[in-house]
């Protein structure tokens, strides 16, 4: 499956419709995310940006149309380790504290064997990936702290590190810079540059590009649940500046 699916686009939605409370949140969206795209989904509040990325991941059911992840409908998709999802929600988890490291380590869950007593045994590869992810978002020295006591921007970086720890081919991020201070945004942008240069696909919902602007290769604008603009920026053929 993985041989044929490498040539397929990471995400393809055709005629995607999502209804909620009797109205269309997405109405007939066509979008094909190509490998290596660094795609920004923009648009006003309520335009359906978050719904679109959730639909791409199969997290909200479609009222019409179809979604494919690497050519396979989400319900039958098995290559989830290739996908990293950073949700928008800031308040993490339930009432039980978790250290930064524990949260980030849980991003490895798709890659580890179910039949090992995993809660009490960290493996070397997992540890290394978690260390790299924490280093990337600049939280290595806070690994042992309670994640719910960190600032909003730091919590957002924990969620990003969790997705990075899974070493995905595609990173889907919902408002990764919301509530993140300028320094963290710059750190995030340089982390994403490394991923983009390595050929990873990145889909991000955002209000403002900030320091990530030079990385964006494609902008899709949503309005009232429809794609109203789909611009490609050629990083190579673009401005020399």
């Amino acid at each position: 499956m993985s041989d044929t699916s490498t040539s397929r686009p990471p995400f393809a939605v055709t005629g995607g419709r999502v209804r909620r409370d009797g109205r269309d949140v997405l109405s007939g969206v066509d979008l094909r995310v190509e490998p290596g795209d660094v795609l920004a989904v923009v648009g006003p509040n309520g335009a359906g940006k978050s719904t679109l990325v959730k639909a791409l991941l199969g997290l909200v059911p479609l009222a019409g149309g179809r979604v494919e992840i690497y050519g396979v409908p989400p319900a039958r998709f098995r290559g989830w380790r290739r996908i990293g999802y950073v949700p928008q929600r800031l308040p993490m988890g339930g009432g039980v504290p978790a250290t930064v490291r524990e949260v980030v380590m849980s991003g490895r869950v798709g890659r580890t064997s179910r039949w090992l007593p995993s809660l009490f045994a960290d493996r070397a590869a997992d540890r290394a990936a978690v260390d790299r992810a924490l280093e990337t978002v600049g939280l290595a020295e806070r690994a042992r702290e309670s994640s719910h006591l960190l600032s909003g921007g730091q919590q957002q970086r924990v969620l990003i590190a969790r997705a990075l720890a899974g070493e995905p081919d595609v990173l889907v991020m919902d408002e990764p810079t919301a509530g993140v201070d300028a320094r963290s945004q710059a750190a995030l942008a340089s982390a994403l540059r490394g991923l983009a240069d390595a050929g990873k696909t990145i889909v991000l919902v955002t209000h403002e590009f900030g320091p990530m602007e030079p990385l964006i290769t494609r902008t899709v604008e949503l309005r009232d649940g429809r794609v109203v603009r789909d611009d490609r920026v050629r990083r190579t053929a673009g401005s020399a500046a």
Binding site: L59, W80, Y85, T99, V109, G110, L119, R162
Partner: protein, 300 residues
Amino acid sequence: MSGMLHYEFMRIALVMAVLIGLTAPAVGTFIVQRRLSLLGDGIGHIALTGIGLGLLTSTSPVLGALVVSVLGAVAIEVLRARSRSGADVVLALLFYGGLAGGVILTSANGGGGTSLQSYLFGSITSVTMTDLYVVAALAAAVLGIVGVFGRELFLLCQDEEVARAAGLPVRFLGVLIAATAAVTVVISMRAIGLLLVSALMIVPVAAAQQVARGFRGTMLAAMGLGVLSAVSGLAGSFKYDLPPGPTIVLLALALFVAAVAGGSVARRRRARAGTAGDGLPAAGPGAQTRVDAEAEVLGG
């Protein structure tokens, strides 16, 4: 202390208390993180119908409770996943139905008050070695599930959508947590009673999260507090002729109060060290920790 070890039922009950003290908080940590703190209560109500069925059909009440409460827990999980708004009402209906059904079935059996009372509030004077074997086997199963599926369950309880996007079988895992909680309720009902059973799943966890920084730390501390309150509560109930379940629960609550006090003192000290010391990153995070610590105390 040594006096109670002369009685076989106390020796059995003490081993049982250790098993319950380990098992209930281990499952409870996931339940609390999933924000389903009252799930155990609901399962306890439903289990009562199983006990009634077991008594009425002259089979084992424990087996009846096990079957009915696992089915009930699975039903709760399915309803929870299906509907968003109406779920709590459906759950309430299940709880009341379980309690009322249990009372009707036990009274139809003629056994009436005393046997029902012993399941509602716990009774340890009648425990046998067979009970202990059943509890030990179920406790081993529950702890095994926590060990094998711990990391998956952790991610599920953190964020269900992220768990789905990681390819985890979220429906199966949700049912697994609910069913494991049901088994835990049945394990604990003999010593603590169905009406208080979920206290030992929740209160030690609430106490542990005041002092622990991480999930694993919370779980291990909660298991320690669970064993401490179960064993000392049982000993206290023997010595002062008190009902065991409520004694265990009150001790666990006392530990919770102590943990709240100890935790806020420790955090205040840590925060002060953070603001005074120059090695730690600035005053901002330290001050915030202190605010959060107080908010958490109020919340808990």
